[in-house]
C-alpha cells in the first residue's frame, strides 16, 4: 500500500519561511575564515581539526564567524554561544572532566521528552551558555528531506538557537544543540505549525522509531519500513511524549536481514523484514554471473582484481547453512535450512531475490552496556505478516509493554528484565512456544522446572495407591 499521511501535509516552501537573506547566509569569505580567531584559546580542541576527517571544530568555527558578522537583531540568543561552547570544551580538556550539568525540568508544555536540559557549571567564564538545551526533532521516516525543509529548519535554528545541529543522533533524531529556556516554546511552535515536524523521544518513554530506507529505494526490502515506522510513531504518540515506562524503549525497523539500521543491536524491539517461502532464482541470471557477464555484488568490490567469479567458492561454500548446491549448472537451495543471511542474494542480486511471502521477524532486548552488559536482541517471533494497520504487531507490542511496565524496575531495560526472569517466562508472557532459533548457546542451566499443567495428572496423586507399592 502506498504511503498515506494521516493528515493532509502542506508543502513547505523555503521562500515563505526563510528568515535570512543569501547575503546573511554567505556573510564571510574563506580568507576571513583563515584569519578568524575565536575569543578563547582552544589548542587541544583545535587538535581535532588535524586528522584526515572533517571536524565539528572546523564547522563550529564557521558558525562562530557567521554569528560574529550577523546583525544584533538577527539572533535571539547570545551571539557568542558557539565560541563559549568551544571554550568550555577546552576547559574540559584541561580539567579532564565535563562542565555540562545535565537534566532538569525544562521542556515544552505537556511533553515529557524531546528537550534535554543542559547548563554550564562555569557560567561566570562562559555566560552565553549558562543554559544550552538540546532538542530532539523526530526525523521523517528513512530521513527523507527536501532542501526547502532543511533550509527552513536551519534558519529557524540559527535565529532561535545556536545554529549547531547534528544530523542525526544515534537514536535517529535531528539534534538541535543549544538554546535558552525562553526559546523552547517558540521553537516547538514553529517546528510543529510551520515545519510540521514533531519533537522526538527522550527520557523514560518510547524513543523516536527509526527505519532503513526500505521500499523507497531498496529492492531487498521485504516490508514497507517507512509505513510501519510512521504508523508506530503516530499510533504511540502518547507513549512517545508522556513518559510512564520504567526506562527508555526503542523500536528500529530493518527491511531485510542486511540490517542497515542495525536494529538487532540497538533496539528493545527490533523488526527485521524476512520471507517464509523460497528464495526466487533466475537460473539464466545465475549462468550469466558464472560466465562473468554480470558483476558480482553489483560491482561493489571491483576496486581490486579478485580473479574470475567463482560461484562455488564465493557463494555456495560461504552459505552458513550449507544449503546450496550446483546440480548440472542449476543452482539449488534447500530453503528449509536457509537462515536468511542474505549473502547469496547480496552477491547475485539479479539472480536471487527474497521470497514473496514476506513479513517480519521480531527480536527483543538489545541494549548498550549501561547497567548490565551490552546485548543483542533475541529472536522472539520468527515470522509475522506486516501489513497495515499492523494490528498483530501492535498486539504483540502491548503484551510486552504491559509486562515490562508491571515487572520492570526503575531504569531496567526490557533485555535486562528478560535476563532477570529468564526467556521461558518471557515466552509465556507473549504466549509463544519456544523455538530452536531462540537458543543462542547450549543450555547452561541444568535445572528444569515442570509446571503442574505440563505433568500428566498434575501434582496430585493417590497416596494410598502409592503406599500400596512403597512402604514407609
Amino acid at each position: 500500500m502506498a504511503f498515506e499521511p494521516k493528515e493532509p501535509q502542506k508543502e513547505i516552501k523555503y521562500q515563505e519561511l526563510r528568515i535570512y537573506s543569501d547575503e546573511e547566509l554567505n556573510n564571510y569569505t574563506e580568507e576571513e575564515l583563515k584569519q578568524f580567531k575565536i575569543k578563547h584559546d582552544i589548542p587541544d580542541v583545535e587538535e581535532l581539526e588535524k586528522g584526515p576527517w572533517p571536524s565539528f571544530v572546523a564547522d563550529a568555527k564557521r558558525e562562530a564567524l557567521r554569528r560574529r558578522k550577523l546583525a544584533d537583531d538577527r539572533m535571539l540568543i547570545d551571539r557568542d554561544v558557539v565560541e563559549d561552547m568551544l571554550g568550555q570544551l577546552q576547559l574540559s580538556f584541561d580539567d579532564g572532566e565535563t562542565h555540562w550539568k545535565h537534566g532538569g525540568i525544562v521542556g515544552v508544555f505537556g511533553y515529557g521528552g524531546g528537550v534535554i536540559g543542559r547548563y554550564s557549571d562555569v557560567p561566570e567564564k562562559f555566560p552565553s551558555i549558562t543554559a544550552f538545551h538540546t532538542l530532539r526533532v523526530n526525523q521523517p521516516a528513512s530521513k527523507f528531506y527536501n532542501t526547502d525543509f532543511l533550509r527552513s529548519l536551519c534558519d529557524l535554528w540559527e535565529y532561535r538557537g545556536s545554529g549547531l545541529l547534528n544530523m542525526h543522533g544515534s537514536t535517529g533524531d535531528i539534534i538541535l544543540l543549544g538554546t535558552t529556556t525562553e526559546q523552547l516554546e517558540p521553537i516547538f511552535y514553529e517546528l510543529t505549525h510551520e515545519l510540521q515536524q514533531d519533537l522526538g523521544g527522550s527520557g523514560s518513554n518510547l524513543r523516536t522509531p527509526s527505519c532503513c530506507i526500505g521500499k523507497a529505494r531498496c529492492e531487498f526490502a521485504c516490508i514497507d519500513t517507512q509505513d510501519l515506522c510512521y504508523e508506530l510513531t503516530t499510533y504511540y504518540q502518547d507513549e512517545l511524549h508522556r513518559p510512564a515506562f520504567p526506562y527508555k524503549f526503542k523500536f528500529k525497523i530493518d527491511g531485510c536481514p542486511n540490517g542497515c539500521v542495525a536494529s538487532i543491536a540497538r533496539a528493545d524491539m527490533s523488526f527485521i523484514g524476512t520471507w517464509r517461502d523460497e528464495i526466487r532464482i533466475d537460473q539464466e541470471a545465475v549462468k550469466a554471473y558464472m560466465a562473468g557477464e554480470i558483476e558480482p555484488n553489483a560491482g561493489a568490490h571491483k576496486g581490486r582484481d579478485w580473479g574470475k567469479f567463482d560461484i562455488q567458492k564465493e557463494v555456495i561454500d560461504l552459505c552458513p547453512a550449507q544449503c546450496m548446491e550446483l546440480d548440472n549448472g542449476e543452482l539449488k537451495i534447500n530453503n528449509q535450512e536457509c537462515v536468511r543471511c542474505m549473502h547469496c542474494i547480496n552477491v547475485m542480486p539479479r539472480a536471487l531475490k527474497p521470497g514473496k511471502d514476506t513479513g517480519v521477524t521480531i527480536l527483543c532486548g538489545a541494549k548498550a552496556p549501561i547497567l548490565e552488559g551490552a546485548q543483542m536482541s533475541t529472536m522472539i517471533v520468527p515470522f509475522m505478516k506486516a501489513e497495515p494497520p499492523y494490528d498483530n504487531i501492535k498486539e504483540f507490542i502491548e503484551k510486552v509493554w504491559e509486562w515490562w511496565m508491571e515487572e520492570g524496575k526503575n531504569r531496567e531495560r526490557l533485555g535486562e528484565l528478560i535476563q532477570r526472569f529468564g526467556l521461558p517466562k518471557f515466552l509465556e508472557v507473549v504466549g509463544l512456544p519456544p523455538a530452536p532459533q531462540m537458543v543462542k548457546i547450549p543450555r547452561e542451566n541444568p535445572y528444569i522446572f515442570w509446571k503442574e499443567e505440563d505433568v500428566p495428572g498434575g501434582w496430585d496423586r493417590d497416596i494410598k495407591d502409592y503406599r500400596a507399592r512403597h512402604k514407609r
Binding site: 550539568k101 537534566g103 521528552g113 528537550v115 527520557g203 523514560s204 508522556r242 513518559p243 508491571e406
Partner: protein
C-alpha cells in the same frame, strides 16, 4: 480519575522526596485505590501535568515527576 489525581497529589505532597518515578506514583496510588490501573494512573498524571500541578523532570535518559514549586527548580543541581 479525580480520586486518582487526589491520591497522586497527596503522595507527592507528603513524600520526603521531591522527584518520583512513575512506578513510585503507581505504587502509592494502588495502596489507596487497589484497583487503579497503570493506564488510568498515567492518564491522571498527564491531566495533572496539563493542569500545571505536576511537572516532568528529565535527565535525558530517564524521566521523573515532581510537584510544581516543591523542591525542584529549573536548575538541575
Amino acid at each position: 480519575m479525580e480520586e486518582i489525581k487526589k491520591a497522586i497529589v497527596e503522595f507527592a505532597e507528603s513524600s520526603k522526596k521531591t522527584k518520583f518515578y512513575f512506578k513510585d506514583i503507581e505504587k502509592a496510588v494502588q495502596k489507596k485505590i487497589p484497583d487503579a490501573k497503570a493506564r488510568e494512573i498515567k492518564k491522571a498524571c498527564t491531566a495533572l501535568i496539563n493542569e500545571g500541578t505536576l511537572i516532568y523532570f528529565s535527565t535525558g535518559s530517564s524521566t521523573m515527576y515532581g510537584l510544581k514549586g516543591r523542591g525542584i527548580t529549573e536548575d538541575p543541581s
